[in-house]
Structure formats: C-alpha cells, structure tokens
Symmetry: C2
C-alpha cells in the first residue's frame, strides 16, 4: 500500500530523481521502501492546486469541514495494523506508544470537527447601522475569522502522527479552511504516506476540492525552502529544532510578502525546586523526575532538561536519589541514528564545559541506537557565566543547577531563554514566599506547572503549547488545543453588505445559532 510516491493533490506522483529510505533503529537496518523526493515541478503543481482549492475550500461550510475531519480520523483508524507497524518500524517506538499517539491524533481531528460544526469559533461580531447617528450615520459592520490561504506543514520527528501529516497543525488548518501541503518528515515517510492516503480518501469521500492536501517527500531542506518562498503559500507550521524553525522564519520574513511562521522549537523546560519541598519530598520528586527525564528516551519538547535548586544537603539528597534512580531505568531506543548521533554529540559538547559534573550516567554498552541517560550538575555561577550550558540536549539528559542563594536563582531565571514550560516544585506557602520567582518564570514560559512534570501535553482548550522565543516564533499562539486554529485565520469585515450575500455566520437570521457579539452583547439569537 505504501508506494514511496508524493501525493500531488489526489494523484500519486514520482517525477523526481532523488530517493531515500527510512530506517528502523531497533533492527539498525534500512526499511525496504524507496521514497522519491518531490521535484520542483511537483512542488509547483502542489502549490497551484492548493491555491485553486482554496477558492472553493474557503467557502465550504463548517458542517462539511467537520465531515472531512471526522472522515480523516476514521480513515486513519481504518489503516489498522499497517499504520502501527510502519510507525514502529520507522521510529523504534513501542506499539503502545503508536496506538496512544494515534488516539491523540484522531482525538485532535474530532475536536476540530466538533469546533467547526458548532461554528462559534469564527467570533462573529455584528455592529448594526444607525442612520440617525450624529454627526454621521453609523454603517453596518460585521466581522468573522476567515482562512489565510494555503498552509505548509513541517512534521515533527518525534511525533509521526500527532504533530505530523494529519497532526495538530494540519487539523487546525483544515478546520480554518486552509489547504495544506505537508513537507513529509524523511524519518517516517511511510507513516506519512499512509496518513496522507487517509486524508486523500477522506477528501474524495467528502467531495473536497483536489489540492486541499498534498504530501511531498523530502530528505533535505530544499523542498521546504521552495515551499516557504512560494508566493501562493500564506502561512507555515513547523515543529522541530531551533535551527530549522528559525531558518524558515527568516525565509518567510524576507519574502516580498512576509508570511506568519508558527514554529514550535526547543526548550529545556526549567524545573524550580523550592527549599521546603526539597527537604520534605525531595526523594519522592527525584524518583518521579527520573521517569520524566527518560520518558520516550527524553525525546519530548517538554522534557525537563534543567533543574534549579538552592545548594545544600537537601539538594544534594535530591541529586543523589535522582542519580540512583535514573540509572535503574532501562535505556530505550531513540528515533534514528541521526538523533542518537546528535544526542551523543551534544552531550559530549556539554560535558566539555568547565564545571559540569556527571552524577549518574549509563556507561555500559547498550543496544545500537539506544539513548543512555545522564544527570549532570553545575554551580549557579558557572551556569550563569556560560551560555553553552543553557542549550537543549534533545534526549534523556538533565542538568541540576546548584544556586548559591535565592538571588542567584532569580538571576538565572531572568536570564533563561523563552521556554514551553516552567515547573515549580514547592509547598503552597512557598509559592507566596517566592512570588518573585513565579513572576520571573512566568515571563519566560508558556505554561507553568505546580508540583508535576512538564512531560505530558494534555490536548484541551486550556492548554498553551508555545511560549516566548525560542520556544516558539510567536508566543501569541498555541500549537495544541482548539485555539491553535487562530494561527491560520484572520479577521475580516463586511461593511454594508447585503444580508442574503453574507456568509451564513453573519446573516441576520443566524441559521447556525452560533454565539455572536451583536452590538456589544453576546447572543445566539437572530437579529
């Protein structure tokens, strides 16, 4: 069923000459299927089709978009074992993880299906006319969100389903009314093609225009660059490294018509250990964090890579227990030889930094491509003085910083780059006592967690997955949850427009019975 070809709209195509294979990190062997990278012509056709499809897709009703999204979810489930097996063979992740991530993916699709079926998300706002107003009459103005246009989505290496082909970015873009062109992630091209086939089948079943979706294979950076530069592309979604995301952001900003790029990039997700809890529950939290740091071999955007505490016996105990616990955990397979190579290189670079000490690490031989966890520690002053220590090491790596005192802890937090999350471990009174720390941390993160772990990103309306740069390129949006649709839409006003010709969401009769703001009052009534 996997062909190795691109979907250029509804058509399987392989005009290119560059080919590649995916890799099974568990067996340490290449998988068999050969993928053909999209050619310049295919990229051009995919964008042209998307641009044409947009004309129709932007007018498709919420109910029909809802059917499309639900059908994609059904089709993905219908892929059954082939999807799960392909997923595992391209990632080294477990079947349980594959099934869980598939569940998350279809849940996201169905959440957006419900959102657009109900329809109030467009934030319809109506200010009626007043011909008697002095000195000049007031005109009728009606506003709603409309889609931006074709969106290019770059999938994540670490979430082949939930943040890739039909992941959050794509689901949100479809819900918004934007055609999507996926730049397929080369590490899981087979998973990508299967999911792409599910989207294409769903598009055909629900009569969506050809070009509403394309899936382009690519093993390098060229395909993505051409897409982001293309004048008909109107927005970009990306999940991955700072280097990759910033490169796309720069290309987009330098276009003749700059376009928005929402890139969710790296983060070290600082965890602040407050003194009292370090004393009372340090041992317990150390055990929990050993699990959080090694979860999925540390391959999560929200992995806790930095733990900050005040030096002393209690922190020593925390480090000791964390160290003892973490080496008890069996190393697991990482996604790809490139990922493990980067992990080992970045770890080695970090260990070269003066003052960084290893408190626990797996040094014995492990299976090929398995990630060996490590805990390190460093003095606060050393950390402050060396920006290299602030960088993310993607994998099961964490660093405990032993601050001299609270002032130094505050200084470190103030100097952190933007983060997806920040966690406070403390007792409740300490939240008041250290309110300055909370305030400083809030300025640097998108989500703040009390007595928990940052790994685990609940898909819900209240979730913010994003944060100040470089956690994301625009902290005003989230990548997870239904509000992520806001990335792909813009407000649009109709002035004095005839009622019969207004979009259904703005008509006097309010046929969808959506919640609207009419002359300053929220109502689902008709005018």
């Amino acid at each position: 069923m996997i062909t190795g070809k691109n979907y250029i709209g509804n058509v399987l195509s392989s005009l290119g000459t560059k080919t590649y294979k995916t890799f099974n990190p568990q067996t340490n062997l290449e998988n068999e299927i050969v993928y053909t990278e999209a050619s310049t012509v295919e990229i051009q056709v995919a964008v042209e089709l998307a641009s044409k499809a947009f004309k129709i897709f932007k007018t498709v009703s919420g109910a029909k978009k809802s059917n499309f999204l639900n059908e994609i979810a059904n089709e993905i489930e219908g892929l059954g074992d082939e999807l799960i097996k392909t997923y595992c063979s391209e990632t080294g992740l477990s079947e349980g993880r594959a099934i869980g991530e598939r569940g998350r993916t279809v849940f996201q699709l169905r959440s957006f299906a419900n959102l657009v079926k109900e329809g109030s998300w467009v934030e319809a706002t109506i200010d009626t006319s007043n011909v008697n107003r002095q000195p000049i009459p007031k005109v009728d103005i009606r506003k709603m969100y409309i889609p931006l246009g074709p969106v290019v989505v770059f999938g994540a290496s670490n979430f082949p389903l939930a943040y890739s082909t039909a992941g959050g970015d794509t689901a949100a873009a479809f819900a918004a009314g934007c055609p999507v062109i996926v730049k397929s992630h080369p590490m899981h091209a087979g998973t990508g093609e299967l999911v792409a086939s599910a989207i294409i089948n769903a598009a055909l079943t629900t009569a969506m225009p050809n070009g509403v979706f394309s899936n382009l294979n690519s093993s390098g950076i060229e395909v993505g660059q051409i897409l982001v530069k293309h004048s008909e592309v109107k927005a970009v979604g990306f999940t991955g490294s700072i280097q990759g995301g910033k490169a796309l952001y720069d290309i987009a900003a330098q276009r003749e018509e700059p376009i928005p790029v929402f890139a969710e990039m790296g983060s070290v997700n600082p965890v602040i250990l407050l003194p009292k809890i370090t004393k009372s529950k340090g041992t317990e939290w150390a055990k929990t964090y050993a699990g959080s740091i090694t979860l999925g071999s540390g391959q999560f955007c929200t992995n806790p890579g930095l733990i900050l505490g005040i030096k002393g016996e209690d922190l020593d105990n925390f480090i000791l227990v964390l160290s003892e616990e973490i080496i008890k955990i069996k190393p697991t397979c990482m996604l790809h030889p490139n990922i493990i190579e980067a992990y080992e290189n970045n770890k080695a670079k970090m260990l070269e930094q003066k003052g960084l000490e290893t408190t626990a690490s797996i040094n014995n031989k492990v299976s090929k491509n398995y990630g060996r966890q490590i805990v390190t520690t460093v003095k606060g002053a050393t950390f402050l003085a060396n920006i290299n220590l602030h960088q993310e090491v993607f994998g099961p790596f964490s660093m405990v910083v032993q601050c001299e005192n609270v002032d130094q802890l505050e200084e470190i937090i103030s100097n952190l780059e933007g983060q997806l999350t920040g966690t406070i471990l403390g007792d409740e009174n300490e939240l008041i006592e250290y309110s300055e720390i909370i305030s400083l941390l809030q300025n640097r993160v998108g989500r703040i967690i009390f007595n928990g772990v940052p790994t685990g990103v609940e898909v819900c309306s209240a979730m913010v997955h994003g944060g100040p740069y470089p956690a994301s390129t625009d902290s005003r949006f989230t990548a997870v949850g239904i509000n992520s649709i806001k990335r792909w839409v813009r407000p649009f006003s109709f002035q004095s427009w005839p009622n019969e010709l207004l979009p259904i969401e703005l008509k006097n009769e309010n046929p969808l019975k959506i919640s609207r703001l009419v002359d300053g009052v929220k109502t689902s009534k008709s005018l």
Copy 2:
C-alpha cells in the same frame, strides 16, 4: 505648559543635544517651542523603567487599569483649548477635525476601560482535573491572556491623537497590562507632549508604577531603531509608511529574540465599479468619490487611490463627472512641507509613467502647503504591466483603471498587493454575477465595503483595520476596535495551580463573574 522635554517615566528630561521644532503648514512658519531628542541614556532609562513597571503593571486589576484609562481620557479632555490649538498649529488641520479626533481618542480609551473592567476579554478557559481518567489522570489546566511586556508605539503623522501618543495602540497596550514607550512623532511633538502629560497625570492619580509610560522625542530614525532593538522591548506598534514599517519589522525579526511588530502601512484601497451601477448611478458615485478622495487632503490610510472599472461609455461618464466635481473642491492644507513634498514628488513620478493620463487636476497656484487634487486614468493592460502604477500616492490622488473586460479586471485584482479595504460599487444582483471578483478581492483586503466609501473607520468591535501585507505586517490582527488588544497579549496556562494563588480570572469562585469556558461550556458561574 509644553516644555520640549521627554517624559522618562514620570520625569521631564532633556539630556540630549539634538533639537528640532514643529511646523505650522498654514502659516508656513516653524512653531516656537524647541524639542530635545531623547539621548541614548534616556532611551535606556525609559526601557529599564518600563521593564520594572511591567512587574507591577502586569498584576494590576482590570478595575484599576480601567480607572487609569478613564483618567487618561478625562485628562486629555482637561487639556482643553491648549491641546486643540497645538494640534492645529502642528498639522494645518481644522479645529473641527481636532475636536472630532479628540472625541475618537477618548472614546477608544473609554472603550478599553469598559473592556478591562468587565474582564471577559482574557478568555479564561478552565479544564478541570479527572483523577479517575484512564490510562493517566487528567490534570487541572487553566488559561488566560497575559500581557507581552513593554510595547513601543510609533505614532502616525496623520492622526496626532487617535493613532499616536494615547491612540489605539497605546490604549490597547495599557488595557492588556503592557507599559508603553512612545516614539513621539516629530511633526506633532507638542500635541504629543500634552497628551503624554495627560497620561503621566493619570498614572500618578491612579497610582500606576513609574515607567508605565514614557514619551521620547525624536526627529530621525535612531531613537526608534534603538528602542526596537532593545531586549526588554517585547512588541512594537506602528502606523505609517511601508518603508518605515518594513524597516522596523526587519529589525525586530533579526533580533536575537524576534518580537512581533504590528505595522499598519500603506494601501491604495481599490474600488471596483461594476457595470450596471456605473450606468445607473455612475454620476452619483462620481460626486461622492470626489469628496472621499479629497477628504482631509487625501491623508487617510483608507483613501481611495485606485478605481477599477470596465471601459466604455458609462465609465467615461464616471471619469468625466469625477473630474468635473473634484476640481470644484477647494484644496486644503496638508500636514507638513515634507508631506506635500512627498505628495508632489510621488505624483510627478506617477505622471511620468507611460500611458497614465490626467483627467482633472488643480494647476493654479494654491496656498503654500495645500494639496492639489488630481484624477488620472490608465488602460488595464498598462496598469497590469507596470508595478509602479500600483504604488500609493499619499494625498488627494486617484487613478481610474479602464479594464478591457471582466477577465482583465479579475487579473488586476489578483495581482494587487494587500490592502486595508476593497470597495464594490454595484447593484445587489451584480454581487452574485461577479462573485469571482468578490472572492478575489476578499483575498487581498481586510475589509470589504458595499456601495460606500472606504474613508471613515468606525471604532467598533466588528471593525478590521489591517489586512494582508503590506496593508499590515500581520493580517491576523486589527489596529482598530477592542480586539486590537490581542496584538499585545499571549495565552498562558497554569497547570495544577492552587486556587488561592491563581489570578482572579481563573479562581473557582469567579469573583469577577466573567464569562469563561469551563470544561467546554461557556459560563459565568463559579466552579
């Protein structure tokens, strides 16, 4: 009362050596007061104060921010005649316009005061925990909008009150909880200082932290550049030229930490004359447009600089009447010698373009600094082939494009740059007949108007003042209306946070009785 100094927080200061004066275009003389440009030290202090003030201001309640905003409005009104006279002496605009714009300005401030007093704008969203959920318990997550941090605002030359010192950008930023540093517009530095004094008085009266506002004089581009590059500045608001806005956008994108710039820039605001109405009401619309083109000497972002119709007798008649009517209108004073010089230069450059013909223009001598209106016409094919003809001529200039047929009209619309507005003059049936034109125009604009003029931007919730680049640098936001607050805020999640320590908007008890989304249901009840 005007000192010519900067407000560095609450303190009047003039450490710099560079000075300048404002200019009265009606008398063609410099005004007397000498303004001292902010020095590097003053800029640095202003940003540091803003950064410190942010710590406090971000926690100030909606009720107190509301008092602050209302007090600014009161203080502005309290400036009385001095403000109106200074405004007129720095702009050449009429007293009536000054009073009208002051009304708009205080209305905006009071609209934001009401918004933050009520409080639901933070979009509080609560997903409660479920400890029994399988396979893992669901955590409690609560989200709301929080302010980005210090915002730099660049005022507009053409709106010294409504889009400058205490204009829409500033009012929205204060409402959001962001301190503001205004880069004062050199053409109306006196008006700016008076309004700044009103803001400072209001800040003192309502006990806002020192640094919540600074006003920096500047006659060149250096002050603005330093501000946008400063690491403690977190967002930028700008209203002005494409050149100026794009330069700031580029600086902000190239920072170590890129920050959002909302720049509302130029637009030619295309008007589409559909055939039937050109026949039935062409004369009437021509008269109306003669007024719209010359309103305020054409110095509006939404001035109709481009009129597109299908060639023939009816369009000829429209051009004839527009030409006859427009020269009947008395030229009025433009804002500044630089503005009129730019107008005359851009007009001259436009007239050098091959194929552009003048159908009406004021050629006789007018008072110094008065803008002489002109109507030009060009063939559709010529317009399509020459991008120079697409540029904005800021002032009382308009161009009628005579398209060969509907296909050419569509092609022209497809090739337009992003616009603030697009207007359709037609009868209702024509909206259906020419639905392709409407669809294409929608892709290029932020607001679409039926049978009206684009000048006149109602301050209301349903207004979109923005649009695809280069109308603005980010079409996902509006510069006018209460939703413009979204430019200066980001969503923020609290996970498992103790109820007592949550912001008031997210507490179980919902003390403010704001509308919230709780487990997917809109409610103003407590949990």
